[in-house]
């Protein structure tokens, strides 16, 4: 027989607390570490697989776990996260950093991908979600403000031509940021597009071009 809704949701992790309430003997909160443990167990018990979104998504890696409270991680932990991120960056084959800015704009506009209503986890099924958080092209007024404005990104960094003497280090920095945003900021709010395979090398090149190509509307 089906367990009742009311009782079925008394998870094992909460049993102690429930008993606590029954006895009314513990009006005080458990210590923070115990609450951390209970919260982790609660989260684990509350989610289920749906479509491509499986429960393994809530198994945190170091970078996620260390950035999951109001307190930032210690300098030591932050350094480790950033170092590991940089070490894992895969550079573009042939040293070719830039693709087609038009394709980049399309990707930047596309907010799709990786939800349980999306059919595939393939990078080609994903958008870059960029305008959700950033101003990029000045023509697009429907942009978010969670991230900094990227308008004139290349121009502001002195990139006037593809062979600008200043270009190479900026290409490298930007590639790293897109590939794994934790390379420079352990608790960056930006997804790790390359690290998690959200975008492939070709797509990353297109976004690079959108930001850095002097012909891109970003730099006009």
């Amino acid at each position: 027989m089906e367990t009742q809704f009311v009782t079925s949701r008394l998870r094992p992790t909460l049993a102690a607390a429930a008993a606590c309430a029954v006895l009314a003997g513990c009006a005080t909160l458990p210590p923070p570490a115990e609450l951390d443990r209970q919260a982790a167990a609660m989260i684990k018990a509350s989610f289920r697989d749906e479509g491509i979104a499986k429960v393994d998504r809530i198994q945190q890696d170091l970078g996620q776990a260390a950035c999951s409270s109001e307190q930032p991680p210690s300098d030591e932990v932050a350094d480790r996260i950033m170092q590991e991120a940089r070490a894992g960056v895969k550079w573009p084959s042939g040293g070719v950093y830039l693709g087609d800015w038009r394709e980049g704009e399309r990707l930047a506009q596309n907010g799709r991908g990786m939800t349980w209503t999306d059919p595939s986890t393939a990078a080609t099924a994903n958008g870059g979600n960029c305008y959700n958080c950033h101003k990029i092209s000045e023509e697009e007024i429907s942009h978010g403000t969670l991230g900094p404005s990227l308008w004139n990104y290349g121009k502001n960094r002195g990139i006037t031509g593809l062979d600008s003497p200043t270009a190479q280090p900026i290409f490298e920095y930007t590639w790293m940021k897109l590939y794994n945003s934790k390379s420079y900021n352990a608790c960056s709010n930006m997804p790790r597009f390359g690290h998690f395979g959200l975008l492939n090398e070709t797509q990353l090149r297109h976004l690079m071009a959108l930001l850095l190509d002097p012909r891109s509307p970003v730099n006009r």
């Binding site: 809704f5 429930a18 409270s69 907010g111 959700n132 023509e139 429907s142």
Partner: protein, 285 residues
């Protein structure tokens, strides 16, 4: 309008009006691209404010509110009983003011419950429905649809009141603490937590203003605005569905209906919203 935007439109709208929904799903595609300039950004914001204002007079949430009231008073379920003796926290049958004090601890179930999970408990105990089966039912269907309508009516009965969740019970304080941890919990392929979007003041995603939910974000904002009618898909969304879709867009797996994480987040946001005036049921994009 730019040529690029027109091309995008043509793509999205290949199916004619069907494209409205398809377009909403495709999301990122912005249908608005104008010549430029800061002044236009301002007028766009003004224009959207004007649009929202025009929709307020005649919120289809009223239809769900009316249906919820009828459902509350109608004898239904295996026990052929009404919900008029349902205890939403202020005593059996007391509806007014209940919404702005939920989630709260209930002695009979020995747990903290939000509005929707409490309604399911009442449907189970008073009317004889199978609560687990309702919890498994997709949003917008069958009894799940009725839960949303009931929640809409119960919320409407507290319109204009200020949030004031009880915190006297240790379980309520514990759920607040668990909710806070869930709020900052990062995961999924995008590394998002609730705080990624709702942890800073004055931010927006695309054109949408994002309320800061770690404190009282103001009257009729955030927790004080749901249930709400969603214009984009013509659906009535309870807070459970609001949270569910937040997790979807967070790229998380699927949170169970009435699961502890959803209730703990309700406790966290609800306590933080103390003093905020409820406008629920609201109308949203």
């Amino acid at each position: 309008m730019t040529r690029r935007t027109i091309a995008a439109l043509a793509g999205v709208l290949g199916g004619g009006l069907a494209g409205i929904l398809a377009g909403a799903m495709a999301g990122g595609l912005a249908l608005l691209g104008t010549g430029a300039a800061w002044a236009q950004t301002k007028s766009a914001a003004d224009g959207i404010a004007e649009y929202r204002k025009m929709l307020e007079d005649g919120n289809p949430a009223d239809l769900f509110e009316a249906r919820g009231e009828a459902l509350w008073k109608r004898a239904r379920g295996p026990k052929n009983a009404t919900l008029e003796r349902c205890d939403l926290g202020k005593g059996p049958g007391v509806v007014k003011g209940a919404f702005v004090e939920l989630p709260r601890f209930f002695a009979d179930t020995q747990r903290v419950q939000d509005l929707e999970s409490r309604l399911v408990t009442c449907m189970e105990t008073l009317q004889g429905f199978d609560g687990a089966a309702i919890a498994r039912t997709p949003f917008g269907r069958d009894e799940q649809n009725n839960v949303t309508a009931l929640a809409t009516w119960v919320a409407a009965e507290s319109r204009g009141l200020r949030f004031n969740l009880p915190t006297g019970n240790a379980e309520e304080r514990r759920f607040y603490e668990l909710g806070k941890r869930a709020f900052f919990f990062r995961g999924g392929p995008y590394d998002f937590s609730c705080a990624s979007c709702h942890g800073e003041e004055g931010k927006r995603i695309r054109m949408q203003d994002l309320p800061l939910l770690t404190k009282n974000p103001g009257d009729g904002v955030g927790f004080a605005a749901w249930p709400a009618y969603r214009v984009s898909n013509g659906q009535m969304w309870s807070m459970q569905l609001r949270l569910n879709d937040c997790f979807r867009q967070q790229r998380f797996p699927f949170p169970g209906f009435g699961s502890d994480v959803t209730i703990a987040l309700g406790s966290y946001m609800g306590v933080n919203a103390k003093g905020a005036q409820s406008i629920a049921p609201a109308i949203k994009r």
